[in-house]
């Protein structure tokens, strides 16, 4: 398949070539799905939200500004779709506890790796208990490694608000982790 830039793919879509959109789905599908997964905490809902995000993006392609990167634009749509889903179906939220084997290179030895894995599972479980907008901010900043400005663009909120959300989210996460540890030790 011919490798196209995001902007070329968008131009082709706007010219009526629907198939060009598959390049963008392939390129951003994984990240969009993982953002949706962290916000919804449900694999089926995440797949639905990710699909819906791409459908909405396709319909709104004429609003996309080609000078801006495509990633934050589609992340913003995915985040909004997922947050809307959570607002509608928050009663059905279930924490995601299962993860595939880590793809992280194992430099620290099996024991250290297992400890780290345990710690990661603990943090992800605590993160799943946070409010959806905190989960969204944490997922975009720390899991997708976006800059503060990109997180702000993706969430459609001011930079200062992003910093406040992330500060509060980390504080809430810390409190949850402490509570979980105390619960386990008791």
């Amino acid at each position: 398949m011919l490798t196209r830039t995001d902007q070329e793919a968008v131009q082709r879509c706007l010219a009526g070539d629907t198939d060009a959109f598959s390049t963008l789905v392939e390129r951003y599908g994984g990240r969009v799905y993982n953002i949706a997964l962290r916000i919804t905490n449900d694999t089926d809902a995440a797949a639905d939200c990710a699909q819906e995000a791409f459908i909405r993006a396709y319909r709104a392609l004429h609003q996309y500004h080609p000078d801006l990167p495509f990633g934050p634009w589609i992340y913003r749509i995915a985040t909004n779709t997922s947050l809307n889903h959570v607002q509608r179906w928050h009663a059905h939220e279930t924490p995601v506890e299962e993860f595939p084997e880590s793809v992280e290179p194992d430099h620290a030895g099996p024991e250290s790796s297992a400890l780290r894995r345990e710690e990661l599972d603990e943090v992800l479980a605590a993160m799943a208990e946070l409010p959806a907008h905190y989960r969204a901010a944490l997922a975009l900043r720390h899991m997708q490694q976006l800059s503060y400005q990109e997180v702000a663009d993706s969430l459609g909120i001011p930079l200062g608000t992003v910093k406040t959300h992330l500060h509060r989210a980390r504080a809430a996460l810390k409190a949850r982790l402490a509570a979980r540890r105390m619960q386990r030790e008791a």
Binding site: D19, S22, Y33, V103, V123, L138, L173
Partner: protein
């Protein structure tokens, strides 16, 4: 746990694999939407035209039969005179029906090619 620790930990969290066939489902839904839009246009053109044509046949059926008989008679007797009358609204209804058929045919073709690509 400070920001750096959290960042270091979460940045290596393994991403969940995209569900199998995700891209094909998205592309399938895009094609469906296109086809749905074309079917709606086809229906908007076809239904009023068909209703009108059926009404014409019911009300002016004898005129149609007479017109056809005139055409057949003229053809069999090798004369060039065949009297029949078609009003403008009937012509318009037939034209709209033709446009509706074109939309429907395109929707069918897009649907068939989309299905073929998804299967392949």
């Amino acid at each position: 746990m400070n920001e750096e620790d959290l960042d270091r930990l979460l940045s290596v969290a393994p991403p969940q694999a995209l569900p199998f066939g995700f891209r094909d489902r998205v592309m399938g839904r895009l094609q469906e939407r296109q086809v749905a839009w074309e079917w709606i246009i086809a229906a908007l053109f076809a239904i009023p035209s068909l209703v009108f044509l059926v009404r014409q046949v019911l009300v002016h059926g004898e005129d149609f039969v007479q017109a056809m008989a005139n055409v057949v008679t003229a053809a069999s007797s090798q004369t060039s005179d065949a009297f029949f009358f078609v009003d403008g609204l009937t012509v318009l209804a037939l034209a709209l029906l033709g446009i509706a058929c074109a939309f429907a045919a395109h929707a069918l073709l897009v649907d068939a090619s989309g299905t073929g690509r998804r299967v392949a």
